[in-house]
């Protein structure tokens, strides 16, 4: 049950998308998000769809996985959809019943928003599916490192992310173990109202925290013994290198952005 969580799941592969420089992938993802937000009409959004499809088809990620990534935010899409549908009252009325009024504008906005959110999720999922968490963290650190001048803790943030990624499976396993142990002592985790259930979590959460603190202490000690002293003067095992394909991908992204700007101006549907 608890083991089914698939945050930041990574699908190892050898596709062009997998092999792109992670820094470039990060940059392209940011540009892609920009692309989606500057698109004013369906034609612009259509360009976004094409861009996404190129990436998706090149990556070799199964369509099932892409759809699965949208599942958790489906309620949000539906919720914003309903809001848009009922609260936008401008435009031609298509349907009217008592105080409910549905207009073509409302319908259009709903579809527009839904497509935009889905494209957003698809894009970021494609990034995490094709980039191992550690490479991604590494890329974030390097992309953010110029900000160190203004004391932005780029290295520290990346290190925290790495450690979190390293310990999430360990802590999930531990949670399962503690749950079994407390159930064996007769703890009832499944019945009762919300307050009772929240209370029933105490015997799980306290041991979990205690253990997480103990692990943190041990880890800090082990890191110190291996000469850890922050980001200064650090070298890396893996060097990131940009290849022609990275610049090609970037160029393609820029072309799409330009296209969307043009579409916004000349074909603003």
């Amino acid at each position: 049950m608890i083991k089914d969580i698939t945050i930041g799941q990574f699908f190892p592969g050898q596709s062009v998308i997998h092999r792109l420089d992670p820094r470039m992938k990060l940059l392209i993802t940011v540009l892609y998000i920009v692309m989606l937000f500057i698109a004013k009409g369906f034609s612009g959004l259509g360009a976004g769809v094409i861009f996404m499809l190129i990436g998706f088809l090149l990556s070799g990620i199964p369509i099932k996985m892409m759809l699965k990534s949208v599942k958790p935010i489906l309620p949000i899409i539906i919720f914003t959809g309903i809001l848009n549908l009922f609260f936008i009252t401008s435009g031609n009325i298509i349907f009217e019943w008592k105080f409910i009024k549905i207009t073509d504008n409302g319908l259009r906005t709903m579809a527009f928003m839904a497509i935009r959110i889905i494209l957003l999720i698809f894009g970021t999922s494609l990034l995490t599916y094709t980039t191992s968490p550690i490479t991604l963290t590494d890329a974030i650190e390097r992309v953010l490192s110029p900000l160190k001048i203004i004391k932005f803790p780029a290295h520290e943030i990346a290190m925290m992310m790495t450690i979190a990624l390293r310990f999430i499976p360990t802590l999930i396993e531990e949670t399962d173990k503690i749950m079994s142990a407390q159930k064996a002592r007769g703890a009832d985790l499944e019945s009762g109202n919300l307050i009772r259930r929240a209370k029933a979590l105490i015997p799980i959460l306290i041991p979990l925290f205690v253990s997480a603190f103990r692990r943190a202490e041990d880890l800090a000690l082990a890191m110190e013994c291996r000469c850890y002293r922050g980001g200064e003067g650090r070298t890396r095992l893996k060097q990131l290198k940009t290849a022609p394909r990275d610049y090609f991908a970037l160029a393609l992204t820029v072309i799409f952005i330009a296209a969307i700007i043009l579409l916004n101006r000349y074909s603003p549907i």
């Binding site: 499976p169 360990t170 291996r226």
Partner: protein, 285 residues
């Protein structure tokens, strides 16, 4: 020429600030110990005897309250030499899970080298070498959390080994492992020592200590014995009185000696025991 590791009359205590008034718990009561380069020293003692505290003195995790610790002549209290000391004396801990930092085996082994600013090509070479040494090269791209306890512990050893330390201190590295994992680690330790790495092994397993060249026994913050395994284990009564085991074979031969049977009193290995019992039971037939 001074010794490789010199611990001179060290006193160390933990202060419990939560108690009112704060209480002081003296863990090491004037400990002196010298270790030569290339030695394999086992430190025995029950929980709370001060053996882990002693281990942490060797790479400046703990600093002595009085007395001093010298590593290759460098004083551990000298902050300027801190990283030189930690590069010289590496440390492996009990819980294999809690000392692995990265999500990929080779990235973890590279961690220390990245910290001390080694060139990437050199990191690659040393990481591969360290992984080969502990027999984990084929796992270099695996996720550590999916490995067995023994394998994780070997990764931790490789991570220290990559720094090319002259000495590795291991604080109960096998306490949380199953028999197969323990065997893996003990073989790795023997192999490292044969290659010239000084080993300080903190343990409470007698069979592990028996593999060392020298055994130091700690009790209540002091060293109460320091000799070859043979000599130390032959003091079976003393070991038992400080809450330690004696190897089965030593216990058996001592029990037989008490019954008036003449046997050597310094038997510590299976082979010796088989041999002398065979002689005892077969001779004269």
């Amino acid at each position: 020429m001074s010794e490789f590791i010199e611990i001179k009359d060290v006193v160390f205590s933990y202060v419990n600030e939560y108690d009112d008034p704060p209480t002081k718990n003296v863990v090491l009561k004037g400990v002196s110990l010298e270790i030569k380069k290339g030695e394999f020293v086992a430190v025995l003692g029950h929980n709370g005897s001060g053996k882990s505290t002693l281990a942490k003195l060797l790479n400046a995790i703990n600093l002595p309250e009085s007395g001093e610790v010298l590593i290759n002549g460098m004083n551990t209290a000298d902050e300027e030499r801190l990283y030189d000391i930690r590069k010289t004396v590496g440390m492996v801990f009990q819980n294999p899970d809690n000392q692995i930092v990265a999500t990929v085996v080779e990235e973890d082994v590279a961690f220390a080298l990245e910290n001390i600013g080694v060139e990437p090509s050199e990191i690659r070479r040393r990481v591969d070498e360290a992984l080969e040494t502990v027999g984990m090269y084929s796992y270099r791209e695996h996720a550590p959390h999916k490995l067995s306890g023994g394998q994780k512990q070997r990764i931790a050893i490789a991570g220290v080994l990559a720094m090319q330390p002259e000495c590795i201190v291991m604080d109960e590295p096998t306490a949380m492992l199953d028999p197969i994992g323990r065997r893996e680690i003990m073989n790795t330790i023997k192999q490292l020592n044969a290659a010239g790495v000084t080993i300080v092994l903190i343990t409470h397993y007698m069979d592990e200590a028996a593999m060392a060249g020298r055994v130091v026994v700690m009790d209540n913050g002091s060293i109460i014995a320091d000799d070859t395994p043979k000599k130390v284990f032959s003091k079976a009564e003393m070991l038992k009185s400080v809450g330690l085991d004696v190897p089965n074979v030593t216990e058996l031969t001592h029990a037989l000696i008490k019954e008036g049977i003449s046997l050597p009193d310094d038997i510590i290995s299976e082979d010796e025991c088989v041999e002398c019992l065979y002689d005892l039971l077969k001779k004269g037939e």
